[in-house]
C-alpha cells in the first residue's frame, strides 16, 4: 500500500512554488500513461475487493444447490459454481485473501531484504557472509522448495493456528523468506553508493550514532529502490500464492483465493468457462497494473529522466 499512499498524497503540495522531491516524482509518474492507468486499475481492484461485499450482499460460502453451474445472470453476475455458490462473492472474498497475502509477504520480503542490504552495505565485516547467504538463497530451487515446505509443515501450523490463519502464516512466511534476495542486492548497491558520500562522513564526525545514521541518512536515500522492489514484490507474491493454490497446495477450498478458484474452476471448464475467466482475469489485471505502476515509479525515480 506504500506506493498508493505515497503517490496520492503529494498533489496538494505540487501547486506550491517550492517543489518537493516527492512532488517531482509524482509529476514524473503522471507523465507515464501506463503507470497512471495501472494505478487506477489497482485502486479500483482494491476498492472493489474491500467495498464490493457491502454492495453485493451474498455470502461467498452460501450453498444453493438449485442454482448450480449457472452462467452469468442478473442475480449472479459472475455465474455460480458446482455447489451454487455465487462466483462474484467468491472472487471478491478471494481477492481479499490474495491481496492480503501479497501485501504481507511483500512487506516481510522488503523488511528482510532491506535489513540484509543495509547491513551488508554498511558494515564491511558483515558484507561477505551476508552476500554469500544471498547467493545461496538465489541458488535454491524456489518453487520446488515452496511446495515441499508447504506440504511438510501445513498440518503442524494448521493444528497450531487453525486452518485459515495457519496456512496464511505459512504461505506469507514462505513467500517472504524466499523473495528478499533481489531487494537485498539492490539496497546494498545503493547503500554502498550513499555511504561514500560526504554527508555521511559529516554525520559520523559530528558523533552521530551508527543506527541513527542508518535511520536518518541512509534509509531515506535508498527508499526509491525499495519502493520499486515493493511493487514488483506484490506482483510476484500474488502470482506465487496463486500458483501454489493452483497446484492444490495453498489455501483450502472453503477459504477461496484467486488461485484456488481458478484451480477449482478448471475442472468445470467446458460447463462454465466463466468460473476460470473471472479469477484469472482478476489475478492478471492486478499483476499487470502493479507491474505498470512499478515501471512508472522506476522511470520517475530514474535520475536520467528527472533532468527532463
Amino acid at each position: 500500500m506504500s506506493d498508493t499512499t505515497l503517490v496520492s498524497a503529494p498533489p496538494a503540495k505540487a501547486s506550491s512554488p517550492a517543489r518537493s522531491a516527492l512532488a517531482d516524482i509524482w509529476r514524473q509518474f503522471r507523465a507515464h500513461r501506463g503507470g497512471v492507468v495501472g494505478l487506477a486499475v489497482f485502486v479500483f481492484i482494491v476498492a472493489a475487493v474491500y467495498i464490493g461485499p457491502f454492495i453485493h450482499r451474498v455470502a461467498p460460502n452460501a450453498i444453493n444447490i438449485r442454482d448450480k453451474n449457472q452462467w452469468p445472470s442478473m442475480a449472479h453476475p459472475f455465474g455460480t459454481d458446482n455447489l451454487g455458490k455465487d462466483m462474484l462473492a467468491q472472487v471478491l472474498a478471494g481477492g481479499k485473501t490474495s491481496l492480503a497475502v501479497g501485501f504481507t509477504a511483500m512487506l516481510l520480503a522488503l523488511f528482510l531484504g532491506t535489513l540484509v542490504g543495509v547491513l551488508s552495505g554498511y558494515s564491511r565485516r558483515l558484507d561477505g557472509p551476508l552476500m554469500r547467504l544471498t547467493d545461496l538463497f538465489l541458488a535454491l530451487p524456489l518453487l520446488p522448495l515452496l511446495l515441499v515446505i508447504l506440504l511438510l509443515f501445513r498440518d503442524t501450523l494448521r493444528a497450531a493456528f487453525g486452518p485459515e490463519t495457519g496456512i496464511f502464516i505459512l504461505i506469507v512466511f514462505v513467500i517472504g523468506v524466499t523473495s528478499w534476495m533481489h531487494t537485498a542486492r539492490i539496497v546494498r548497491g545503493d547503500v554502498l553508493a550513499v555511504k561514500s558520500q560526504e554527508f555521511i562522513l559529516t554525520a559520523k564526525s559530528s558523533g552521530m550514532r551508527e543506527y541513527r545514521i542508518i535511520w536518518r541518512h541512509i534509509l531515506p536515500n535508498v527508499l526509491s529502490s525499495i519502493m520499486v522492489s515493493a511493487t514488483l514484490g506484490i506482483a510476484s507474491a500474488i502470482i506465487t500464492e496463486s500458483a501454489l493454490s493452483f497446484l492444490g497446495l495453498g489455501f483450502p477450498s472453503d477459504f477461496p483465493t484467486w488461485g484456488r478458484l481458478l484451480f477449482d474452476g478448471a475442472n468445470f471448464l467446458q460447463l462454465t468457462p466463466s468460473r476460470v475467466l473471472w479469477p484469472g482475469l482478476a489475478i492478471s489485471l492486478t499483476v499487470l497494473s502493479v507491474n505498470y505502476v512499478g515501471d512508472a515509479i522506476r522511470d520517475a525515480l530514474d535520475p536520467r529522466s528527472l533532468k527532463r
Partner: protein, 336 residues
C-alpha cells in the same frame, strides 16, 4: 579467465554442499512418517523393522553422509555404467529408491526427462527466437506503434500467469474450436507422418503458453539492452563513416546488446527443468515438474530430495556458465 572459472567451480562445491544439507535437513525435520500410510494392524516391532529397512533408525548426520555418497558417487557411476556398458566394482551398488514406486529415482527421472526437454526446451528456444527480433525492432523504432504494441504484449505476457494463459488456451482451442488436444499423450509414438502430425498438434498449446511467457521476459531485456547501446558514441561513429544502417543495427548494436541477453538466457535455462511445473500440470505433460508434484503430494521424500537437488545443481551450474560467458563475450569485463 581460466583461474576465475576454476575458482568459481571450487566455490560451487561448498554452495552445493550447503544447499544439499538444507534440502536434506528440511525434509528430515518434516513431521511425517513414511510408515504412516501402512495399516494400523501392523505390530509396532514390525513397524520398527520396516523403518530400519528404510534406513530411518540411523542418526541424522550418518544418513546425510550416506545420501551424499549415494548422490555424488553411486548414482553417477550407475548412469555412466548404463551409458557406456563399462563395469565399475561388482555392480551391486545401492540405489536411491522412491518410496512410492520402489524403483530407482534416477530411472524415474530418466524416463521423464525427454518430455520436459521436448516441450519446455522447445518453448524456450521459440521464446528466444521470437524475442530477439521483436526486441530489436521495438528498440529501433522506439515509441512507434510496433513498439507500443510489442511492449504492451510483453508486459501482458510477463504479468499473466501461465496457469491462466494455459487454461484460457484450452478453453478457446480445445473446448470451442477443438483444434488441439488439451492433454499431452506420452504414449504416442512417432512412426509415420500422421502420428508426427498428432505429436505436433499436442505440443502446440503447452509450447505456445511457455513461449509467450519466455518471449515476453526476454523481449524486455533485448529492448532495454538495445536502447542502452543505440545512443552510444560508437553507433554515431559507425554511421558517420558511412556504414549501412542494417550493418550498424545488426552487426554493431545487436552484437553488443546481446551480451547481457545471453547471460539472462543462460540464467533462465534451469527454469526449463523446474519452472514449467505449472504448465506441465495444466497440460498433463508427464515430465520432471509433474514428477515433482506427484512426489510432493505423495510425500515421496527420496524422489523430492533428488529432484530438488538436481534443480539446485542446474541453477548453480548455469549461474557459473552465465558469469563465465559474460567474461568471454565482453572483453571489458575482467575477473582479476
Amino acid at each position: 579467465m581460466f583461474t576465475y572459472t576454476l575458482r568459481r567451480l571450487l566455490f560451487a562445491i561448498p554452495t552445493l554442499l550447503i544447499i544439499s544439507f538444507v534440502i536434506f535437513a528440511l525434509l528430515d525435520l518434516a513431521p511425517n512418517d513414511p510408515t504412516g500410510d501402512l495399516p494400523l494392524t501392523i505390530p509396532p516391532e514390525v513397524r520398527e523393522q520396516i523403518r530400519a529397512s528404510l534406513g530411518l533408525e540411523q542418526p541424522f548426520f550418518i544418513r546425510y553422509l550416506y545420501w551424499l555418497q549415494q548422490f555424488f558417487i553411486n548414482e553417477p557411476l550407475n548412469i555412466l555404467e548404463r551409458l557406456t556398458g563399462w563395469q565399475f566394482g561388482d555392480g551391486h551398488r545401492m540405489r536411491v529408491l522412491s518410496w512410492a514406486t520402489r524403483s530407482p529415482v534416477v530411472d524415474l527421472i530418466v524416463q521423464r526427462l525427454p518430455q520436459t526437454l521436448w516441450v519446455v526446451g522447445l518453448a524456450y528456444l521459440f521464446g528466444i527466437m521470437i524475442a530477439i527480433p521483436i526486441g530489436v525492432i521495438s528498440a529501433y523504432k522506439q515509441y512507434s506503434i510496433f513498439d507500443q504494441i510489442g511492449t504492451f504484449v510483453s508486459m501482458v505476457g510477463y504479468s499473466v500467469p501461465t496457469f491462466f494463459t494455459g487454461v484460457l488456451l484450452i478453453v478457446v482451442f480445445s473446448s470451442w474450436l477443438q483444434w488441439f488436444p488439451s492433454v499431452y499423450d506420452t504414449n504416442l509414438e512417432v512412426t509415420d507422418f500422421s502420428s508426427f502430425l498428432a505429436q505436433m498438434r499436442q505440443m502446440v498449446l503447452p509450447v505456445a503458453v511457455l513461449s509467450l511467457y519466455n518471449a515476453s521476459q526476454i523481449t524486455r531485456f533485448v529492448r532495454a539492452s538495445m536502447l542502452d547501446n543505440l545512443h552510444q558514441d560508437y553507433v554515431r561513429t559507425a554511421r558517420a563513416k558511412g556504414v549501412r544502417e542494417n550493418a550498424v543495427l545488426l552487426v554493431h548494436v545487436l552484437r553488443n546488446s546481446l551480451i547481457p541477453v545471453v547471460t539472462v538466457i543462460a540464467l533462465g535455462v534451469p527454469t526449463i527443468f523446474s519452472g514449467a511445473i505449472i504448465t506441465e500440470q495444466i497440460f498433463r505433460v508427464n515430465g520432471l515438474g509433474q514428477l515433482l508434484i506427484v512426489a510432493v503430494q505423495g510425500a515421496d521424500i527420496p524422489l523430492v530430495q533428488t529432484l530438488t537437488f538436481i534443480f539446485a545443481v542446474l541453477i548453480v551450474l548455469f549461474n557459473l556458465i552465465a558469469d563465465v560467458l559474460y567474461g568471454i563475450l565482453d572483453p571489458r569485463i575482467r575477473y582479476e
